[in-house]
Amino acid sequence: MELFERIATCTSRGKINQNSPYPPDLRGQEGVFELVRDALAGGVNPNDILTQGLMVGMNDVGRKFSKNEVFVPDLLMAAKAMTAGMDQLKPAFASGAAVHKGVFVVGTVKGDLHDIGKNLVRMMMEGAGYNVIDLGVDVAPEKFLAEVEKHPGAIIGLSALLTTTMVNMEATTKLVKEKDPKALVVVGGAPLTQEFCDKIGADAYSPDPQGIIDWLNARGCGCSCGCN
């Protein structure tokens, strides 16, 4: 199997490293850690490892997740495998040899302490090649705004689990759009609908993380990763 395909497969299947017992059918085989390590040592372009290996694998698991072909444990393991590769690409990101697609600022809105959905989005967006800034939970609109000011062009991701807190998405969206009308605000969470997204002036809603990634890819993220 070709190198990038192997990295993608190990990422998608959640094969972190050779010692990892998961998945059982790949026991004893090299995982993302070894494949990325050896690829870098062999002079493979870090950006190619990212875009043709890790991102392809995360895209694959994200699509399967959207179709209920895999479930949260599979997604979590894929994210761990991806991290084993991404950690080794950090020097390449610092030097510019690998580039993020953009900055994605994510958080659960004010008044809401739920974080499982938000964490899944964070992992998937990292896997899609974004530099993710996770503001955590119970995040005030002003905190999102501060990140927009620090990172012009950043995409804002708002999460909420409760009908009682999703209303706080509107305040955040308004504040961000007042500062930068072109800023993209995407929303997700159990009680949300497309109608609510439209009503508060957010740009996109998806019931799962892959939907947001597909929406951004369809817009063209303006990078050189080939997503356009």
Binding site: G14, P21, P23, P73, K80, G111, L113, T165, A190
Partner: protein, 363 residues
């Protein structure tokens, strides 16, 4: 309006067995601040509960404490005007909101793998009498009997017992990476539940039924696959449910989120009724009734977001679209698809109950 001809206990027992009744059942959950507001507004007397006021058919009590370190006083690690961060008796660091009811934020866990479980939790999960609130169970059981209400033991089953010690992420990754560890947790908690039930029921008497809370889904999907459910969780469900059924008691299982793919496995495990059928997560009461109504009773599935509108016509449409169908097999209890928050007015909820029961009458 026709009169009720059955008590709550008679009606609910028959609904759970899908046998003829006078009307559909009635029960509800509320967010904590709803009762306070409705009392403050004068709709409900200060010392009156929702069960008494609305005439619910059921009443439950949660008698068990499954925390690992009994008697451990949670340690406040950080406190702000709005939140408080505490380390609890399971070694979990959780942040809760002071101003409203909600699931706490999972900040950190001492247990992240099998070693942590074996060191911090497993040795402490003994069937200690101190885990049981005998007095509360006795009083609630007596009150339910006086009011003719179906009295249920209320508590969590293995899925909801595991994640408080290690959080959803470590629990779900553990199921993938170290399924034997997950199975050990399931077995340990199932055994503890059964042992504690034996102690309680032998001393205080059995309830009329058992209610297990198991939040196994979220928006559009369950946390785990049906295969993983059968391999890891179902043995715990079978063990606890078989024990309860051997006593002749019916079992209601609650799950938030979209759990439709798990329902066949839950039926295999022996549940009699599925609650709460969360519409916003993708659950569809009418589809469930069509596919499983011959084997399963239902409670819930009425979109609470419609009640938020406080629009009687919209509430009527939601009830009329579902109740006449799902009452068909005698196996339905009127309940929202989650809990009633305080933005639902008292009058709206009262209308929901009155209209729902009107549609749900057989005699």
């Amino acid at each position: 309006m026709a009169m009720d001809t059955m008590t709550g206990v008679e009606r609910t027992a028959r609904i759970l067995a899908r046998k003829p009744v006078d009307r559909i059942g009635l029960f509800e959950h509320f967010w904590g601040d709803t009762l306070a507001l409705w009392q403050e507004q004068g709709h409900i007397q200060p010392n009156q509960g929702m069960e008494d006021h609305f005439g619910f058919d059921m009443q439950g009590f949660w008698p068990f404490n499954a925390v690992a370190r009994l008697g451990f006083e949670p340690v406040v690690v950080e406190e702000t005007d709005e939140t408080v961060l505490r380390r609890d008796g399971n070694g979990a660091l959780l942040r809760t909101h002071k101003t409203h009811d909600a699931t706490p934020e999972h900040v950190d866990f001492l247990v992240q793998d099998r070693a942590g479980w074996e060191e911090h939790i497993r040795p402490f999960l003994t069937p200690d009498r101190a885990r049981i609130n005998f007095e509360g169970y006795r009083a609630a059981r007596r009150k339910a009997a006086e009011q003719g209400r179906f009295f249920f033991w209320s508590g969590v089953n293995v899925f909801e017992l595991m994640h408080p010690v290690c959080g959803h992420q470590y629990m779900l990754m553990g199921m993938a990476v170290d399924p034997d560890w997950a199975r050990d947790m399931v077995d340990t908690y199932a055994r503890l539940t059964v042992d504690l039930m034996d102690i309680l029921f032998s001393e205080e008497g059995k309830p009329d039924g058992v209610w297990f809370y198991e939040d196994m889904g979220f928006k559009g999907r369950p946390f785990i696959s049906p295969d993983m459910y059968r391999e890891i969780i179902q043995p715990g469900h079978r063990r606890t449910i078989n024990h309860v059924k051997a006593m002749g008691l019916p079992v209601i299982m609650h799950s938030c989120g979209y759990v439709e793919p798990l329902v066949p496995g839950m039926i295999e495990a022996g549940i009699d009724c599925l609650q709460v059928i969360e519409v916003k997560a993708g659950m569809d009461l009418l589809r469930l009734y069509r596919d499983f109504g011959d084997r399963l009773s239902f409670m819930g599935g009425i979109d609470v977001r419609v009640l938020y509108t406080n629009d009687r016509a919209a509430i009527d449409r939601e009830l009329s679209a579902k109740i006449p169908t799902v009452k068909g097999n005698w196996g339905y209890v009127l309940h929202s698809d989650h809990s009633i928050p305080n933005q639902v007015s008292y009058d709206s909820y009262k209308f929901f109950v009155d209209r729902g029961l009107e549609l749900g009458r057989y005699l």
